[in-house]
Symmetry: C2
């Protein structure tokens, strides 16, 4: 890992500008709405990012998220140049069903971390169902009252375009940009109701699941497999009359965790109670997260998992592209409907139908 | 579903021949080792299968399992002709780690079912790691003492060749042949330590997990996700001094199950104790299984899941073929190693490496 330029002699004199009162270092035109914006070159963007310029970081993330094919090559160039400066962070996935109090919690968690550990915090999200207009997760920054105006934080809603794979790719690439801009703490928020958890889990070091105390049916709304990928389960709204119920829920979760196979890291997931709204138990949650980070850095799992994740995303991208090349092929789309009917009618085995479709597909590629 | 010919007027006079004392109806040459075997045609095979001829069924399963490409078309023809007569069975997946007592249990379960429900039972297996010579699951029929000599049973070890996908396909096709031969109860055994459970789960109506009472660490050796796909968990060796321990384990499993999301079928998995060796509690296990079958036939989930499974295997076959076409491409194999190194060295993003490999691949297909 190459040392971040902020820490090098060359940059020591510079103040890192960030947050809402940010003044652009590189491109003053950006501050003047009346003038047409000059497009920054990739090199200028990289320079701005490495200096920690939030406005330019934000532009670069927008470029990464763009669905305009002309932007793609430039985005890739920026990412590639930032890559050597990335990696030097702790990445935390935060999940929970709607209503679990994620925004309030992230606000409290983030403020605690910045106060106790210093550094800079970026909050990103993966939510393939999001459209900015519909108030998706993180769509409304004001729900994180304190963090959204903190000079050391950077909050971005989920990229909106397309498939889960596409959204996840963009979030992962944004992590690289944020790290290159000196963000040493990354939150990736996701909503606990679908496959986006697996994608999130595949790009973070620690996966935190926010739960509420319920009525014996604690996991209602939580999809299969999410408990199993959690490194920590935290029960929110543990305040006032709710304390006993939360502590009971925590005990039940702890018992249940014994019935899950041990994770590869050797870490036994912990269950804690807290209150995001009243700021209770926040320190304990983050002491746990950092206990985990120390534990896996010590036993080598931290680096191992980062490598596995890099490989995972390469293979995942390949597999998704192969699938979409097949299923979006116009001839296949028509044939697939017909073959599917034959299979359901019991006229053809699943394997024979698949074989015919594949022959058809490979012939169109040769043509 | 077309009525099985055994039940039609035309076949009423025939005795169904099966089991070890089987006399071949169609092909007397098969009984004489000294003569070269005449190969049955596909039509003759189908005729024999529909008459319930176990020797011919066995030959057909061997054909399905063959890795000789010349056998493939004939196997597909046989399967396709049997397909209209298949489907009329209850398919049960049975899983458990080595040592859980699967063979003894299947022997007891099978005998109970044949005595109480009549009909015919086929026992198949999925074990991609198996090689017949190494005593894989079901490799040694004699471990099912009673069932292996029962005239209404048919026991086949796991197909041995190749990938999980290949093994699973062969098992699924064998189910079709067995059903066409009048087997109305199908067990699919699998060993509870890997992905073969998912494959097994995708071809059965009920997934039964055999467990042992342990020392608070009941799931040792059981892989992630297996509890979640189980429709019933049964604790074996509940006899003698072990009874209290088993009942405690059962209570713990029941509590833990509340922390798993409800299954799509609307069924809440049940936990029971039994002893395969002493034949205790066997009836209760199978009353539960049939309670489930009645429940899902009533609410429509039985048919829905069978349809979903047919589609699943079509898509699964397509996706696996697309992947293997890519990863087994000689140019890609070399390039993949290099790109993988660049990704791990942080020189290239996972997404860029994937993109380059994919361009390379599609170019070789056009060439």
């Amino acid at each position: 890992m190459i040392e971040h330029p902020e820490n090098s002699e060359e940059y020591k004199g510079l103040t890192v500008n960030s947050g809402v009162e940010q003044q652009s270092i590189v491109n003053p035109y950006l501050q003047r709405g009346r003038f047409a914006r000059r497009q920054l070159t990739a090199a200028e963007m990289v320079e701005g990012i490495l200096k920690g310029d939030i406005t330019i970081l934000s532009q670069a993330v927008t470029l990464v998220e763009s669905i305009n094919p002309d932007h793609f090559a430039k985005a890739q160039e920026v990412i590639e140049k930032c890559l050597p400066y990335s990696g030097n962070s702790v990445r935390i996935g935060i999940s929970g069903v709607p209503g679990a109090g994620k925004s309030t919690s992230i606000d409290a968690f983030g403020m605690h971390l910045l106060e106790e550990k210093g550094g800079k915090l970026a909050v990103l999200a993966i939510d393939p169902s999001s459209e900015r207009s519909k108030g998706s997760i993180l769509g409304d920054k004001t729900r994180m009252e304190k963090l959204s105006v903190h000079p050391k934080s950077f909050i971005r809603p989920s990229p909106t375009a397309g498939s889960l794979g596409g959204v996840a790719r963009k979030t992962r690439e944004s992590i690289i940009l944020c790290e290159a801009a000196g963000f040493d703490k990354i939150f990736v928020e996701t909503v606990g109701v679908g496959q986006s958890e697996t994608a999130c889990h595949s790009m973070v070091d620690f996966f935190l699941l926010i739960q509420l105390a319920g009525t014996g049916d604690e996991l209602q709304g939580i999809k299969r497999g999410i408990m199993e990928i959690s490194d920590g389960i935290v029960i929110n709204k543990c305040d006032g009359e709710n304390v006993d119920k939360c502590q009971l829920a925590a005990r039940n979760f702890r018992n249940a965790l014994h019935f899950f196979p041990k994770s590869d890291s050797g870490w036994m997931p912990k269950v804690l109670c807290y209150s995001g709204f009243y700021g209770l138990g926040i320190k304990e949650v983050w002491d746990m997260v950092y206990e985990y980070i120390d534990f896996v850095k010590e036993n080598g799992y931290f680096a191992f998992r980062r490598n596995e994740q890099s490989k995972y995303w390469m293979y995942e991208t390949i597999n998704e592209t192969l699938r979409s090349s097949f299923y979006n092929n116009p001839e296949i789309r028509t044939a697939l409907t017909e073959e599917g009917k034959s299979v359901l009618a019991g006229e053809k085995t699943s394997f024979k139908a698949a074989g015919e479709l594949l022959n058809n597909y490979f012939n169109t590629l040769k043509a």
